[in-house]
């Protein structure tokens, strides 16, 4: 149904190191993972500020990411388009990730479009240019499914393109990532990923999952309620560090509020042990101090699966905090992979 059978052309896998130094996959981001521009800009800044560090260490470069991304997007083009028209679809300049959308479009040399720039005719997608309509074959969309096409999803969406899904069904345009990939971001899908790897690939997962209690199961819910002050509880649809409880860092009142929510709506929640996340020396107001981090490498799937040796390291800037999301005041760090 989709070109090369690839649904998630761009994936961002959040990885943490905990306890004795073992790595865990914390969550998968297959809908519209963001943050790669920080990886690129952080590196550029570090090279400018600390050139001597780079001359003393063999740091593997990451600056070719946009090139790999362009290659993956070209590989997603429907058959028959030799020189595919590729665009980045953004919700617009008021989106918090707009900088990244503009940055990637510019780095790849493709147009940055909004929904109003595109239209569909006879199941083909075109963009409005000063020289008339121009065919679009691949859309790197930074817009959630719900807003893509008002004829199919939210009818009040002015960010999308009427008829887009019809063109997509006809196989005349590729969406990267495909519609529906966001299901993998759902935290109640996450516990099944190791089983999926075993079933579909016949392999053992290399990276562990964090043990997860699914509150919709009665036994799991009971365990979670009994151990609430020790656990991290997350909404299954949550993102951005919103709507979560970090037991050990919460007041009795916060814990009781979550207990009530859990009992009322167990389906909406999962729980995990509070991991002792690794830390990294971080420059904060008080000087250099340890702060918790996680790592999001970006995985591109086109002709083959490719990554740049690096990723987005997110850091919780507040002392003791385990929440690294930028929407919760988290920061980012340059991430090095050293070549031998």
């Amino acid at each position: 149904m989709v070109v090369r059978d690839i649904y998630a052309h761009i994936a961002g896998i959040d990885i943490v190191r905990a306890g004795q130094g073992e790595f865990y996959v914390l969550e998968d981001n297959l809908r519209v993972p963001s943050g790669v521009s920080y990886m690129l800009e952080n590196r550029k800044m570090m090279m400018r500020l600390f050139p001597d560090l780079f001359s003393r260490n063999r740091v593997a470069p990451v600056a070719h990411y946009p090139d790999l991304l362009l290659d993956a997007l070209r590989a997603a083009a429907p058959e028959g388009s030799d020189n595919p028209g590729i665009v980045v679809l953004t919700p617009g300049m008021y989106n918090s990730a707009y900088f990244e959308h503009a940055f990637l479009a510019q780095q790849m040399g493709v147009e940055l479009v909004e929904g109003q720039d595109l239209f569909v005719e006879n199941d083909y997608v075109y963009m409005r240019t000063t020289q008339g309509p121009q065919r679009v074959d691949v859309i790197y969309r930074r817009l959630d499914d719900d807003f893509l096409d008002p004829l199919v999803f939210r009818p009040d969406s002015t960010l999308g393109v009427p008829g887009l899904i019809s063109a997509y069904r006809a196989g005349n345009v590729s969406l990267c990532n495909a519609v529906g990939t966001g299901i993998a971001d759902d935290k109640s899908i996450y516990p099944y990923v190791p089983d999926m790897i075993r079933f579909y690939l016949g392999e053992e997962p290399i990276l562990k999952n964090v043990p997860t209690w699914m509150c919709r199961k009665a036994d799991d819910l009971k365990h979670v309620l009994d151990h609430l002050p020790e656990l991290v509880v997350k909404e299954t649809h949550g993102a951005g560090g919103y709507g979560m409880l970090v037991g050990p860092a919460s007041s009795a009142a916060e814990i009781e509020a979550f207990r009530a929510a859990l009992v009322a709506n167990p389906d909406k929640y999962i729980a995990q042990p509070t991991l002792a996340l690794s830390t990294c020396p971080t420059y904060v107001e008080a000087g250099i101090a340890p702060r918790h981090i996680d790592l999001r490498p970006f995985v591109l799937s086109g002709h083959d699966v490719r990554m740049v040796p690096g990723g987005l390291t997110r850091v919780a800037l507040r002392e003791g905090s385990l929440v690294v999301n930028s929407s919760q005041g988290g920061g980012t760090k340059d991430t090095w992979v050293l070549e031998r």
């Binding site: 519209v32 409005r128 000063t130 009040d156 999301n325």
Partner: protein
């Protein structure tokens, strides 16, 4: 290039040019208002300026009387006036921000700095202290932005659409500046004030940077006919109607790639009329009537340019919505509304 991108660049240039011309117009009127004269006549100057800018209604809604300070304040920084200098500079900056990746960082930096600096200057009381200095500053920043365009940008469609915006706006504004003064003369009961006319017409010339040009071209005393001739027909001088429309004609040719033949034809026709025009013939039918017709034709060209290449004017009002995605909020851009609001004014 993307129509919306071209549209933003076109409007960026228009707003920059409009800010400059508003500063020029205010400057001329301000200088005039300092001359010894009756209060009625001083008010007439401001009234005519507001009327020709189609802003009398907006002004009347928030003000009583026609004090220089009030009008300058209204035209320079009033948020309710969509064509105030502050709103123009903001719109220029916002339009560039929307398409940052399609211009270069020097242009963005210059417009962004202008916007930030403008707020700082106004907060520091520059309008109360020295309006002249503020008007000079606005002109200078416009020169700077144009200099960055000419000195650093690739000569591609993006650049041509910017230029198109500049000259459409300039043709419109110069025509209005000229019209405002002729209207004042016609409204004035006392026609005997000859020496005053000298200051009146030099103010017009200075407001379009044309005083020295006038001296060079005519080497003669200042008369309304010659002033009109210079502003309308003198094609070698870049602020004249003839020069602006000649640029518009050429620029449409550059971006059309064989399309938009009717728009190109109309521009060529208007340009030819200005090239071959005689000021005596124009004055015979009445200058005001001529300028009203000219403004309508420029406005028509601007709408045609929007329809043929850019985002058609007055799009359906987009609803605002938010969505929580992966730590991001998606909001409908309100840019096109900002632009059309600007168009409706002039």
């Amino acid at each position: 290039m993307l129509s919306r991108t071209a549209d933003h660049l076109f409007w960026m240039a228009r707003y920059t040019e409009r800010a400059e011309n508003t500063a020029r117009m205010l400057d001329a009127n301000y200088q005039l208002s300092l001359l010894p004269q009756s209060d009625e006549y001083a008010e007439l100057g401001w009234r005519a300026m507001l009327s020709i800018s189609e802003l009398s209604g907006v002004y009347a809604a928030g003000h009583q009387g026609m004090k220089s300070r009030d009008v300058i304040d209204f035209m320079a920084r009033d948020a309710s006036n969509p064509s105030s200098i502050v709103n123009c500079l903001r719109a220029a900056r916002e339009n560039t921000r929307a398409v940052r990746s399609s211009t270069n960082s020097e242009l963005w930096e210059s417009l962004n700095t202008t916007w930030l600096e403008c707020q700082r200057l106004l907060a520091g009381g520059i309008l109360e202290r020295d309006p002249y200095e503020f008007f000079e500053w606005v002109k200078f920043r416009s020169h700077l932005s144009r200099g960055v365009q000419l000195g650093t940008l690739v000569k591609d469609d993006a650049f041509w659409f910017m230029r198109l915006g500049t000259f459409i706006e300039r043709a419109d504004n110069t025509a209005r500046i000229l019209d405002v003064k002729f209207e004042m003369l016609e409204q004035r009961a006392d026609t005997s004030a000859q020496p005053f006319d000298y200051y009146h017409w030099t103010a017009v010339l200075r407001s379009v940077s044309g005083f020295e040009v006038y001296r060079k071209v005519y080497r003669d005393v200042i008369t309304p006919e010659r002033v009109a001739g210079l502003l309308i027909l003198y094609g070698d001088w870049p602020r004249s109607l003839a020069a602006s429309i000649a640029e518009v004609e050429q620029l449409i040719g550059r971006v059309a790639y064989g399309r938009a033949s009717e728009t190109a034809r109309l521009a060529a026709q208007l340009s030819a009329e200005l090239r071959d025009g005689r000021i005596q013939n124009i004055l015979k039918g009445g200058l005001h009537a001529y300028l009203v017709d000219f403004l309508a034709r420029v406005n028509d060209l601007a709408s045609r340019i929007s329809r043929d290449f850019l985002v058609p004017l007055a799009p359906p009002k987009p609803a605002t919505q938010t969505q929580s995605g992966e730590s991001q909020t998606q909001t409908q851009s309100g840019e096109s509304q900002t632009q059309t609001a600007g168009v409706a004014v002039r």
